[in-house]
């Protein structure tokens, strides 16, 4: 800037400054917009692995034998099977879903015509994420810092890398060796290959719905 000020062409320098100022305003706006989008839309995606790590590690730090996060509302298997909250959402889908599911679930019924992309739920429109590499903020995870980097390709999260995780202090390393989730992430892709059988939950889900129905029947005596 000092160079510009000493320039023999003050009008040029003024133009440059004006341009820089405009650029700064626009850049700030874009950065804010992107951050906003990531914060809201992405709330259920990549960043959650951070609080997740923190929670997990906290609980481990407090009690190493506890493997389940403690700050989450307790739910039980019976809560899965609990009829009441499901009543409104599940019941309507039963008549339409069951018949179409039955034939496709015989293990011999293997995929033949497969697109390359997994259809996403309609709640997630395409282009949710812009392609690029995004570094998350450094988050204090109680026992140290955690920072991740998300790589987006084709509008989907292609990879999530740890840029930083606690490894400095001896205690951290000990906790870390237990608590760091050695997890990998990827966008699911439809496979076009022959298999002997398929593992899936469709029928568990249906059995669940049926169980729910009879539970409701009993509950409304």
């Amino acid at each position: 800037m000092s160079k510009l000020r000493s320039s023999s062409k003050p009008r040029f320098a003024f133009a440059i400054r004006k341009f820089l100022l405009s650029f700064f305003v626009v850049f700030t706006f874009i950065a804010y917009a992107i951050r906003n989008q990531l914060d809201t839309v992405d709330a259920n995606n990549v960043p959650t692995s951070l609080p997740l790590l923190a929670q997990q590690s906290d609980s481990l730090a407090m009690s190493r034998s506890t493997t389940v996060p403690t700050n989450r509302p307790k739910s039980t298997a019976s809560s899965i099977l609990s009829p009441l909250p499901l009543k409104s959402t599940v019941t309507p889908s039963i008549p339409t879903e069951l018949p179409s599911l039955v034939p496709t679930d015989i293990p011999t019924d293997l995929p033949t015509d497969v697109p390359t992309e997994v259809p996403l739920p309609t709640a997630t429109p395409d282009g949710l994420y812009k392609d690029g590499t995004y570094d998350g903020p450094v988050v204090d995870a109680y026992y140290g810092n955690v920072q991740v980097e998300a790589i987006v390709q084709g509008g989907k999260i292609a990879d999530v890398k740890f840029l930083d995780y606690p490894q400095d202090r001896r205690t951290s390393r000990f906790i870390n060796s237990q608590a760091m989730p050695w997890l990998t992430q990827e966008a699911v892709q439809v496979q076009n290959a022959n298999v002997d059988l398929i593992s899936g939950a469709t029928f568990t889900s249906q059995a669940f719905v049926q169980s729910l129905q009879s539970a409701l029947d009993q509950a409304h005596v």
Binding site: Q56, L197, A201, F203
Partner: protein, 251 residues
Amino acid sequence: MKQTRILMGMPVTVEVVDAWATTSTLDSVYDYFQYIDDKFSTYKANSEISQINQGLLSVKRSSADMQTVFALSEQTRRETDGYFNIEHDGYYDPSGLVKGWAIFNAAEILRKQGFENYYVDAGGDVQLAGNNEHEQAWRIGIRNPFNIAQIVKVLSLTNLGIATSGSYIRGDHIYNPLGNHETVSEIVSLTVIGSNVYEADRFATAAFAMGREGIQFISQLDGFEGYMIDEFGLATFTTGFDRYIIHDKVR
């Protein structure tokens, strides 16, 4: 020899590759599932579990199998910090545990008869042994939760159990009643591989109830690997899971 029958409200497929398997071999397995269904079905008014739920029979005086299931359920409840619980409002529904337990026991029937290459698959939860008819490890697909006609992963497994928990039907959201309509539909599929299907199934069920934290729970269990798919189609899997993945796309 391979057959599929509908039992306990789901397709039960048994395949035995060993050449000396006969129809009665498969019958012995299906008979066992029928026995389990008669005893543990909460839909059947005369089943033993229904008798218990109606207060006509105490657990103490129930059959050995029933007491075993109750003991295993209690053990699992403790191991999962309460996420797995067969009791709800005074009623017992152990079907979440019985399924994997029954598949494992059914596979044991085959093993004790001397068979070495087979699998028992009940509703997508499987106990595997030996190889397939091509003398290779069994190839198992993981179903695409967004399109049940597709698979999203191909695995090579032998002498292991695999189980998948999830809700594939859109709208089939699972709510946590304790969490004031908090949904656990943030994940749609959780596959667990373990030494046997009983272990894989009970931990898959409990971990699914934990939502996103479920995969971390699995990653901290010795001898278990998991593959979780969230509502956005993003998969998270344990490092050890990778060794089961077949990366080539064409056989």
